[in-house]
Structure formats: C-alpha cells, structure tokens
Symmetry: C2
Subunit: 394 residues, 2 copies
C-alpha cells in the first residue's frame, strides 16, 4: 500500500538533530541532552502510601470512567493554589485537567488554529511544542529571545505583518531551552500587544515552582483582565513526569471548547494519577517538598555552572538561570556547533544542538542546551570536563 | 474578548441529545444510558497488589518519562496475545500504546485526513468517535447497518461516489450502539472493497474479548495482507476504564506517523497504568478473569432481554448481541422516540435516543440504546418495568 498521509503529517521533516540525539542515547552516555526531572525528587514513599489508600478507600473512582474536565477535588485545589499562591485566575476563568501540559498546548492550537494559521513562538523554544504545532498544521513564526525575554520590537513587527496570527506561545519562566525568565516589564508589554492585536497568549509554565534563586515574577495570566491568556501547568517536574497530569486555566468559553476537543482525544486523563496529584497537594507537605526540589536543582545547576567556568570559562558564555532545568551555552564563533555536538557524543556526552529549538532549523545558531536535572553530580563533573576537552580540540 | 475559534471547533453543534442526557444524569436515575463497564469486573485486589509491587520494585520507571511508543514488555505481550489468540498482526505491523482506544481513533484521523476529507462510518456508530472525527474537521458519510453488519452495496456506492475518502471506520464486534457483529462474509467483502478503492480501514474492537455467546469471528486485521487495516484495542472493558490504556496495531509506516502525532498530544501514556496492564496480562489469571467478565455480561444481558420480552415484547424489537455492553431497541412506529426518551428520564430511567449515534442527527430513527453493564440487576428489573409502563402511555 502506498500511504497518502494528511498534509500536516506528511510535511513533518525528519531532522538531523534527531539523528544526533539517537547516536547519543546509549547507556553509557552522560545525558545532558535530556529533560527528565531528577528521580530523587519523586516523593516515592508518599506515592506508595497514597496509592494504597486510594485503592483501599475508593477503588472504583480510580478505575472507572471519569468526566473529561477532570477530578473535581484536584481542579478545586489547583484553582485555589494558583489564586492564593500566584494571584492567577479570575471568576471568568476555569481550570481543567489534561494528560500532561503537552496536551494543553496541543488543544489550544486545535481550538484556535486552522491549518496554515500562524503561531508566534519564542525562538529558540521547546521542541515538543513546536513539533506539536507543526503536526496540527500550524505555521510557526519565531521571534528572537533576549536575556530578559522575547524581543518586543520584533514581536510587534510580527503581529503587525504576519497573516492570521492566532496564538503567541511563551515559556516566561526558566524557559526551555534558554533558561531565560521574561521580566515583568516585558510580560506587561507582551500582554498589551496581545490585547492591541486581539491575539491569544499561550503561557506554558511547567517550571514555575522550580525557582532556586531570585524573586517570583507574576505570571502573564495574573495580568489577564480581558480573557486573553491560556495558562498551562504540570505535575511532571514536582510530582512525577510519568503520571502525565497537567492542567489548563483559561476563560470559561475557551475551556468549553478545549474540553470538547480533549474528549475526542482521550475522553479523560487517567483517574489514579489525578487522585494521586490531588492527595499530593492536599495531604502532603507540598511546600516543604517543593523547597527540597529547589535545593536539588540549586545544587546541580551551581555545580554545572562552576564546572563550566572551570573548564570552558574563557571560551563560552552561558545563561545563569534562576530556576528550571536548563543552561544555554554559546560556543565561540569559530566552533562548528553541530560537529562539536557529534564529537561530544562520540566522547560520551550528549548535548542538544541549539538549532533543534529554532523555528527554522537552518538558521545560524552556535549554542547548545545543557540539562542539569537528569545527570548525577558525578556525571556533571565528568561530563563538563569532557566537553572542555572536546572544545580544546578545535 | 470575542474568540475566533478554528473552523473545525466552531462547527461543532450542541446537540439536543446532550440536553436529554444531562436531564437524565441525576443520582436516582437508572443508568441504561451509560457505557461504563460493571465495577464488579475490575480485578481490584490484583490491581492493589500489582501497584504495590511496581512501586516497591521499580518506582522510577513508573514515575519517570517513558518513550512515546509505550512500555516495551506491554507492547510485546499484546503483540503475542493478538497473534496467538486471534491470528492478528504480521511482521510488517507494529503495536504501540495509546491513552485509551479513543486516542488511537483520533490519531488515525489526524494522520490520514485533511480537513474536509471523508470518513465512512457505520450508521449508527459510536458517538465518541464521530465527535472526535468532527473535531478534527473530517467529513462523515454514514452507511446503514444491517443485522449482519454494514450494508455492502451502499458501502460500495459511497466508496465509488464520495470524494477524498480516507478511512472506513468500523466496530465489527458487538457494535456500539447496535450490538451487531459483522459476519465473516461481510468482513471479507469490506476488506476487498477497501483494497479495490485504496482506502484504509479503522477497526475499533474495544469489546472483542467480551463474547458471551456464539463463536469468535476473525478480526478484519487478521485478513490484512496489504497493510490496509489500523486495529485499535483497549483495556477499558477488561481491566479498568479509568486507567486509560489502549493500543494500536498497524503497518510500521503508519505507526511511525501516528507515534509522532501522539508525541505532540501527550508525549506518552501514563507509565503506572501501562505497567499495571502488563502485569495484568503477564502475571494474572487473564483467561479466567475474562471468562468471569463474560459471565457477568451474559447474566445481565439475558436479564435485560428477558425483562424486555416480559414488559414490552409485543411492541418492540431488539438486537440479541453475542457480546459487548449494548442492546438496540426499535420502538413501534407510532411512538415519538425523543419524547419517549424524555418521559422515561422523567420517570427515572435514562436511555440514549438512537439519533445520537447517527452521522446526521436529523435523520429518522425510532430506536433507543440500552446499556446493561452499568446498572445493577435490581436496576435492570425495575428500569425495564418502568420503560414498559411508559410505553403503555402512548
């Protein structure tokens, strides 16, 4: 059979990046290329106890079909948490549960974009979201990142000149891949532009709770008086990535459409993970747990930055994130970045070439992304030493 | 904000059926309208034990990110089970895990259909799938069901005359809503037509293991020599609906595209439910468990059919399914069906008007769907008695 795939799926290009990542996915490779939360941050003992309690006390709720909107007590707890902790959410908003933040991002695109409609993205941005938009047939326009967030002048230019812009997709806190946090000033400017041009903002905040230095910056959603912001959050980095529980806070009218779309995708998010997430928030020492995760990432990021300084400090520049899981390192201009990444992989250290995160992979980029949550401390020490040695070969 | 939704989402119409269902969703209503598996079929004790073991022995695998294709041991076990138990699957096929069968159905549509492309469906058919196709922007063409499956002449006519047909969507065993099982002869005829017209078949088989009388009919996928069939199965009716684990068996090349599309939707299916499903298949008395579920549904369906005979036997006709969860009852021609369903709801019994399952809800239909898995035996006895009384009012 000669398959005739839909245009949006047929257009997905295999990427040279994927080949590099495949080559560096072996067992003995030091994984600076991943984005996994550190397994020591999973509250395993609590998950065991809660699971047992759930399956003792109310197994049928955990095992039977649930409603598409999600488990009521979890929705209520999250709504309160966002309001009291982050002044995020209003009476005209509603919160529903998704199967990981990725689903919230995909649903926002499905609900607002026809094939060929435009999504403005930070460039670089999270490859998972870019590929999800591509698979939905959206057209991507990248706007460069600066050290305090997206370039506002170029964002305005894109809004003024691009056709059928439906969403502005942003990761304002500890961005993946750059580690950059968008300043409050820029968040306000972005919101005002969205209002002026009548475009929705898709605010992706998977790392929001992972601040290990500096002070919280208000979410863009907390500025939202016109119902312009779809806010997406996740339990992947604070409880467990494998449980696939995220949430969306958005204007009621938008949520109603997203829920219908979600129903057609997976009916509802698995119940046992939802009830676990609820118990984690309601019955566990949530604040204490979050602060212990922050401590882990403060240590790991500091260790990685110290070692980068020690082994490559003269040649490279890198972001100093206040949270999240990633550093963004600019290699010297004379280093061929893709070649460097291949050599590093061959030497036992996997990094992601920065081009992977660009809207247009053929654009110039001499950066790599380093993840500090997945490797052990020993791997960080060893791996950065190797990256330094590889650099000296050029 | 005046939201401008995508065409496919904006086109979704609120249905009068949903209003009737809402009106009949109260606590004290007898639920013949649902599609929930009977909670007594959940192997709760085993799920408790397996969950504990998983979280003791290898918690990190259950809680960390997994690959999009799904948990390897589960994929292998399912591949073997389908091959040895149902002669289904070949070397050029591949199996991957989805977040419930619904996701497999949605992904097939995403991968093959551009907006406006046509999917041929049995009419009536499962409303969840129809709505999923609609939310993806596909155009639906219904072909009437007969007592042994879809009308082959009309299927051929549709294939010959409709534009851009990409999928034929079928539930060949114990169909939802009619309870009809497509004969082997018709399965072969459908396959041959798909081959002739170069159209993929989407075979949805959520109830396949739930046969309580008669003999197994080979799956359409077992006839598939050309790589035309996407086969979708589920754990919802044999293990737990709330865990959201299903699977897709399809030609490699198709699976590769579906996996990329799935990655953009939810990255992967929750790991703990996947490992649970694996242990259920590999370490539990699977065959015995299935046969105990069949026994439950044999009893419940017989009870419902006996009571229908007793209270309404002179006036109605209904299908006698060999498995699954549903009966399809044709009311006498003089009964206004929607009005009957409303009156039944007001009298404490919820049924689904047959029109809900039609591609075109405005078509004539004088049938209702009755579910026998959700209500208790007592509710079946009481509920059918009430339905009979309501019928006598006309």
């Amino acid at each position: 059979m000669n398959y005739s795939f839909s245009n949006r799926i047929a257009a997905l290009q295999p990427s040279i990046i994927r080949e590099i990542l495949k080559a560096s996915s072996g067992q003995n490779v030091i994984p600076f290329s991943a984005g996994n939360p550190a397994p020591e941050t999973f509250p395993i003992e609590a998950i065991r106890t809660f699971t047992q309690t759930i399956l003792e006390q109310d197994p049928v709720t955990a095992l039977q079909y649930g409603i598409t909107e999600g488990y009521g007590p979890l929705r209520d707890t999250l709504t309160n948490h966002l309001k009291t902790g982050y002044n995020t959410g209003s009476a005209s908003d509603e919160l529903f549960i998704v199967s990981g933040a990725q689903q919230g991002i995909e649903l926002a695109c499905k609900v607002f974009c026809n094939e060929g409609d435009t999504i403005i993205c930070e460039s670089p941005s999270f490859i998972g979201s870019l590929n999800s938009f591509r698979a939905s047939g959206a057209r991507l326009v990248g706007v460069p990142m600066e050290s305090d967030g997206i370039d506002i002048g170029k964002l305005e230019h894109a809004l003024r000149t691009e056709q059928n812009v439906k969403l502005i997709y942003l990761i304002p806190s500890f961005q993946n891949p750059t580690g950059v946090t968008t300043s409050l000033e820029k968040r306000k400017a972005i919101y005002d532009l969205a209002k002026t041009y009548g475009v929705m903002i898709l605010e992706d905040n998977p790392y929001g709770e992972l601040r290990f230095s500096g002070k919280d910056v208000p979410t863009i959603k907390s500025l939202d008086e016109e119902g312009l912001v779809i806010y997406v959050g996740s339990f992947s980095k604070i409880l467990s990535a494998g449980l696939r529980v995220g949430f969306v806070l958005a204007p009621n009218e938008v949520v109603q459409k997203m829920v219908v779309a979600k129903q057609g995708e997976d009916v509802h998010t698995a119940m046992l993970p939802q009830i676990l997430a609820y118990k984690f928030m309601a019955e566990y020492s949530y604040a204490e747990h979050i602060s212990s995760i922050r401590e882990v990432y403060r240590r790991k990021s500091s260790l990685m930055m110290d070692k980068l300084k020690e082994h490559m400090g003269d040649s490279i520049t890198f972001t100093r994130p206040d949270g999240g899981l990633f550093l963004w390192c600019d290699l010297p201009a004379h280093i061929p970045m893709l070649d460097y990444a291949k050599t590093a992989a061959a030497s036992g250290v996997a990094v992601v070439p920065g081009t992977a995160f660009l809207v247009d992979e053929s654009e110039a980029c001499n950066a790599i992304r380093l993840n500090f949550s997945t490797p052990s401390d020993e791997q960080i020490v060893k791996g950065i030493e190797i990256l330094g040695q590889v650099l000296k070969q050029y």
